[in-house]
């Protein structure tokens, strides 16, 4: 049973929550407005997410040691296992908290990485790799005994790749970082120990652990322009969850990313890797890491439903990854949001998932329109009909949970929480040889105090009745008696009226028709806009469904215009405000 939030007043047992106002879909017109005087974001310091930190660490060590040895070093220090998880319940970007666990673990990782780099087999390679980046003042480096010029070159090159910006030098900036780093070499008895200390400091620096834009130029009032490096860094982390690569760093050094032409060139450099943000966002938005584990595997109904499929974490991961690849494929192939909800292309390669889909051949390693494996006509289409959105983890499909996921998470429609209900209110309905799963759930929820809310919920799940507990397509389902013996088969109905849940005078025949309807709703456009905005800016809660926001207006309009999916993500950065920061000196 779901627990009430701490401190929430409890309703007496058995008393139903007040049914919500019947949902009204947002007006077809763009609900967001743009005020020309809207200030740029504050961009206050925020800790890198786990994914960003690990990517940045991997990129830096790879630069010095190559991919294979870098992977070995990160395994040795257990970088992935050490980092605390992000707080659940919101987007990973919203957890900017830096706890003592972060301090301890990032120190342990930096310590371990520095020690690995200082090992004889790695030290010379690592130092030489960074010194090879120039400048000419360190023409013949000897890693064993670095000259002052080579120490400087090493510091500058290392920190530029780690932080995405040049290290500050000289007292004029008020933060002579170079002098502080030179000191490590002065204190260390050997160059090797100096390099290790510099690596530790680089990996623990605010510029590495945090999104912290301090390379700014005042424009007017509190508005400051980001440097080219700051823009490049922001672009890279926004779209690739990683620091800028060499090409982008080169463009930041040679161009002026405040100028539209150079900015577009920079955008073009990160576009090929934009799939990272598409998949990470969809993964978090749809809670794909929270797919239910498979329980009750030996339940008599489970044994019939699974029918040879091994239910394990590998299958769960395959379900998740198939949806992530769906999003990435639509983005990379220039598709639209509607394609996400309607494409019949399968990405299943895992034997268990292929079994669920009744698919004979695995999806090719590289899916194209020509090579794609497609579902049989009329059986399955886009996102809503994939196993990841359907699997219940138990012996029976749960139309209520399917509907709530669609209604609350995908469409951002108000979804009432059940109150302090009598025992077993939320348990699955008992077996009945004469009723389908849909009918059993309908019977259970069509009584008071349940009916008021469930009329707004159930039809969305009932439309997906052609998919069983694992997401397999079905036109009939097994009928079980009270002790879970199979006693026959019952035809499945997936017809559903959408007037209750969506306010549309429309009947859909199945999940495919439901998907087509959902893909065109302004509720979906608004919901994805609000969620993407929350993800990109690390908001603790979804922004309002309407109101002033130039960014959200562009995002929504991109979807309303049927533009390619990548335009949705690009529309977050196209405004000049993306290249500025509002610096508030007081809370």
């Amino acid at each position: 049973m779901a627990q009430a939030p701490v401190g929430a007043p409890e309703r007496p047992v058995g008393e139903a929550p007040a049914p919500p106002t019947p949902p009204v879909l947002p007006d077809e017109a763009n609900p967001f407005t743009c005020d020309a005087d809207e200030a740029p974001e504050t961009l206050d310091a925020r800790r890198l997410t786990r994914a960003e930190y690990l990517n940045a660490l991997r990129a830096l060590v790879t630069h010095g040691l190559g991919a294979a040895d870098a992977a070995a070093v990160l395994r040795q220090v257990d970088a992935e296992g050490r980092l605390p998880p992000e707080v659940t319940g919101g987007y990973s970007t919203a957890d900017g908290n830096f706890s003592v666990l972060h301090a301890r673990e990032t120190f342990a990782i930096a310590d371990g990485v520095a020690s690995a780099i200082g090992a004889p087999a790695a030290y010379g390679r690592f130092v030489s790799a960074f010194l090879a980046l120039g400048p000419a003042t360190c023409p013949a480096p000897s890693p064993a005994a670095l000259s002052d010029a080579c120490e400087d070159a090493f510091i500058r090159n290392l920190t530029l790749r780690a932080w995405g910006r040049p290290i500050e030098a000289g007292a004029a900036a008020g933060n002579d970082e170079l002098a502080a780093f030179r000191r490590e070499f002065a204190l260390a008895p050997t160059s090797r120990e100096g390099v290790e200390a510099v690596v530790v400091k680089t990996l623990l620096a605010p510029a590495f652990l945090f999104h912290l834009e301090t390379d700014l130029r005042p424009v007017s009032g509190a508005t400051h322009a980001l440097s080219s490096h700051a823009i490049a860094r922001r672009l890279a982390y926004t779209f690739t969850q990683a620091p800028p690569d060499e090409a982008l760093l080169g463009l930041a050094a040679s161009g002026d990313l405040q100028r539209d032409a150079d900015f577009q060139r920079a955008l073009a450099l990160v576009q090929p890797r934009m799939g990272a943000v598409v998949t990470q966002f969809s993964r978090e938005w749809l809670h794909l890491d929270g797919l239910p584990t498979f329980i009750e595997q030996n339940h008599p109904r489970s044994l019939r439903v699974r029918a040879g499929v091994t239910l394990d974490d590998g299958l769960r991961a395959a379900m998740r990854d198939e949806v992530l690849e769906l999003w990435r494929w639509v983005n990379d192939s220039g598709g639209t949001l509607a394609d996400v909800f309607t494409t019949d292309v399968s990405f299943a390669r895992h034997p268990g998932l292929m079994h669920v889909y009744g698919q004979q051949a695995p999806a090719p390693a590289t899916v194209t329109a020509q090579t794609a494996v497609r579902f049989p006509a009329g059986q399955r289409s886009g996102l809503l009909t994939r196993a990841a959105m359907l699997s219940s983890g138990t012996h029976t499909e749960n139309p209520i949970l399917r509907a709530i996921h669609l209604r609350r998470d995908v469409l951002c429609l108000p979804t009432p929480q059940p109150g302090n209900l009598p025992p077993n209110s939320l348990a699955a309905p008992l077996p009945d040889a004469t009723m389908t799963t849909r009918e059993r759930y309908h019977a259970k929820t069509s009584v008071q105090p349940c009916q008021g809310c469930h009329q707004l919920i159930n039809p969305l799940g009932f439309a997906l009745s052609r998919y069983d507990a694992l997401g397999r397509y079905q036109t009939t389902e097994l009928a079980f008696d009270a002790t879970w013996n199979v006693v026959g088969q019952l035809p499945v109905s997936s017809t559903a009226e959408l007037s209750g849940p969506l306010g549309l005078e429309r009947t859909v025949a199945d999940g495919l028709e439901l998907s087509a309807v959902v893909a065109q709703t302004s509720a979906l456009r608004s919901c994805i806009t609000r969620n993407l905005s929350a993800y990109l800016h690390g908001l603790q809660a979804l922004p309002p469904a309407s109101g002033a926001s130039c960014e959200r207006r562009r995002m929504y309009q991109s979807l309303a215009d049927g533009a390619p999916l990548r335009s949705l993500f690009e529309s977050a950065v196209l405004d000049a405000r993306f290249r500025h920061r509002t610096l508030r000196s007081s809370p």
Partner: protein, 550 residues
């Protein structure tokens, strides 16, 4: 400070005194170094009363089944007919260093999450209590239901008497008073072996004198050393201060950087380690009574000091701290046991009784358990160069999970028993296919709250004791007694899992109640005993608990 890498390497082989006792960084120690030295193991059980009524207060953040948690739990499939087990890293439940892990733990154990294990759904097969004896596998001395059953030694006693575990025959240290001390052990009352009959009671001076031979035990020195990059971390903090005070930082940036600075400072503090190659005890405080430990931090810390010093001096290897640590009444007004613990939904001073009992446990966690863990984690055991906490097993628990019921005994473990056990997880031994039960005490049924009882059929509690004994190096032949559970052999009325058993093995009673006189059609048998037995899979009784990889 400079650092000679060779000297660290030498220390890792156990040949020199240096730092490196930090559990946090132990995975960085080369595997070949970790294997050096045979660990000296210790077992410390801290058994408290007064938590009957709400085992969930011990569980991480929630009373929901672990499968409802997000991110989802991982699944361990032991095979051999054992049901699947769900587990999840404890860190998942503690997003910040100040986040409470559970109602009982608060945030007091957060520094040692990687060394900690919380278990759920370890069930007894009969309603039980009071006292420490039940918890360690025995029968209460005056329990009327024990009938004709033999009295047995508890796990702590078996351990202390085992000469592989305790070759020098060091004394078994009891702390406790009436009702929660050794007087609850049947074999003591019935004339157990010498050395166990006298209870140390509650006086810290008496405890000191027993441990350290009235102060005559020789002392050795201790040294303090720093992590080799301790000074680099100081300069990292300077970097944060400089950025914080630079020109283009907002007020929010400054707050973020100030916070990071604080966290690095705290992290750095934990990098200072005391390396103990011998013991120090003469300056320890020893005034106070054990029962004051929960309410007076100084007494709690003194008790922790005494136990930790005894371990470092190798004055004892088994500690059974079964004292109430609280007075028998709440604020001197009501009987804490009968009028608070037994009525968890009543209120006292306007607050639910179950919250008050949990808070009493939190006080013990704060004033005694956490200081003890701190001392054990921050000192190096010269036997193998690992921390004393790593080499030990600290078991923090209560006498029952829910008002004498058999469901979900609270289990918090700390340490790794010298590497025998993994740690860092919340493990739910619930057997999801078998479902839930009310608690077996006739209590939660009355309350009718599904979130309050929420007991799942899971694994036999006694398997925890098997796990402990094996982790400490004992073999089944050291503790198994075929005759002990003979009353359960060759029966057909104890559930489908337990038909026609010819032996059980394992440790202790599977049913610590004499069934010979039971009318198997009686209400009591069917209400209390049969469900408790049917819910167990006694075929697994001899096996240690499956645990996730470290």
């Amino acid at each position: 400070m400079t650092y000679d890498r060779l000297s660290r390497r030498m220390f890792l082989r156990g040949t020199a005194g240096a730092w490196l006792s930090i559990p946090l960084l132990e995975s960085l120690v080369p595997a070949e170094a970790r294997a050096q030295g045979t660990p000296v193991r210790r077992f410390i059980s801290i058994i408290t009363p007064y938590d009957m009524g709400h085992h969930a207060a011990w569980l991480p953040n929630t009373n929901s089944p672990i499968t409802n948690l997000a991110p989802p739990a991982q699944v361990l499939t032991p095979g051999n007919g054992h049901h699947a087990i769900r587990y999840q890293p404890l860190r998942d439940f503690v997003p910040t260093s100040t986040s409470p892990l559970s109602l009982v733990a608060g945030a007091h154990f957060n520094p040692w999450l990687s060394s900690m294990t919380i278990m759920r759904s370890l069930n007894h097969s009969v309603r039980y209590g009071h006292g420490a004896a039940w918890v360690l596998g025995g029968i209460q001395a005056d329990a009327p239901e024990r009938g004709a059953l033999a009295t047995i030694e508890t796990a702590d006693v078996v351990l202390n008497k085992h000469r592989g575990f305790n070759p020098a025959g060091l004394p078994h240290i009891f702390c406790g008073n009436a009702g929660y001390g050794p007087d609850t052990y049947s074999y003591v009352s019935s004339g157990g072996p010498a050395g166990y009959a006298s209870c140390l009671g509650e006086d810290l001076t008496a405890l000191y004198n027993r441990l350290f031979s009235n102060g005559a035990l020789p002392e050795g020195g201790s040294t303090t050393s720093l992590h080799p990059r301790h000074d680099v971390l100081s300069r990292v903090q300077e970097d944060y201060r400089r950025v914080r005070n630079s020109r283009f930082t907002s007020a929010a940036d400054k707050r973020t950087l100030d916070n990071a600075l604080d966290q690095f400072r705290d992290a750095q503090a934990s990098l200072t380690r005391v390396t103990t190659s011998s013991c120090a005890h003469r300056t320890l405080g020893r005034s106070g009574q054990v029962w004051q430990a929960a309410s007076q931090a100084a007494v709690g810390q003194a008790l922790a000091d005494l136990v930790a010093a005894a371990i470092m001096c190798d004055a004892a290897r088994v500690f059974t701290i079964g004292a109430p640590m609280l007075g028998g009444t709440l604020n001197g007004q009501v009987d804490q046991h009968e009028e608070v613990s037994h009525v968890p939904f009543s209120t006292f001073g306007g607050r639910p009784s179950w919250q008050l009992t949990a808070e009493r446990k939190t006080a013990i966690a704060r004033t005694f358990v956490a200081p003890l863990l701190q001392r054990l984690a921050s000192a190096t055991d010269p036997s193998n160069g690992r921390s004393y906490l790593y080499n030990s097993l600290v078991y923090f628990t209560a006498e029952s999970g829910i008002a004498h019921g058999y469901g979900s005994h609270p289990v918090m473990l700390f340490g790794n028993a010298g590497g025998s056990l993994g740690s860092g997880h919340y493990i739910d031994y619930a057997n999801r296919a078998a479902g839930t039960f009310a608690g077996g005490d006739g209590f939660s049924e009355v309350v009718g709250s599904p979130t309050f009882g929420n007991n799942w059929w899971g694994a036999s509690y006694n398997r925890l004791l098997v796990t402990v004994l094996q982790a400490m190096g004992l073999q089944p032949q050291d503790y198994e007694n075929h005759a002990l559970n003979a009353q359960l052999y060759n029966r057909t009325d104890l559930g489908p899992n337990n038909r026609n058993l010819s032996s059980l093995g394992g440790f202790g009673y599977a049913m610590p109640r004499d069934l010979s006189g039971e009318n198997t059609s009686s209400w009591g048998f069917n209400h209390y005993l049969r469900p408790g037995l049917e819910g167990q899979d006694l075929r697994q009784f001899r096996n240690p608990l499956p645990m996730p990889p470290a």
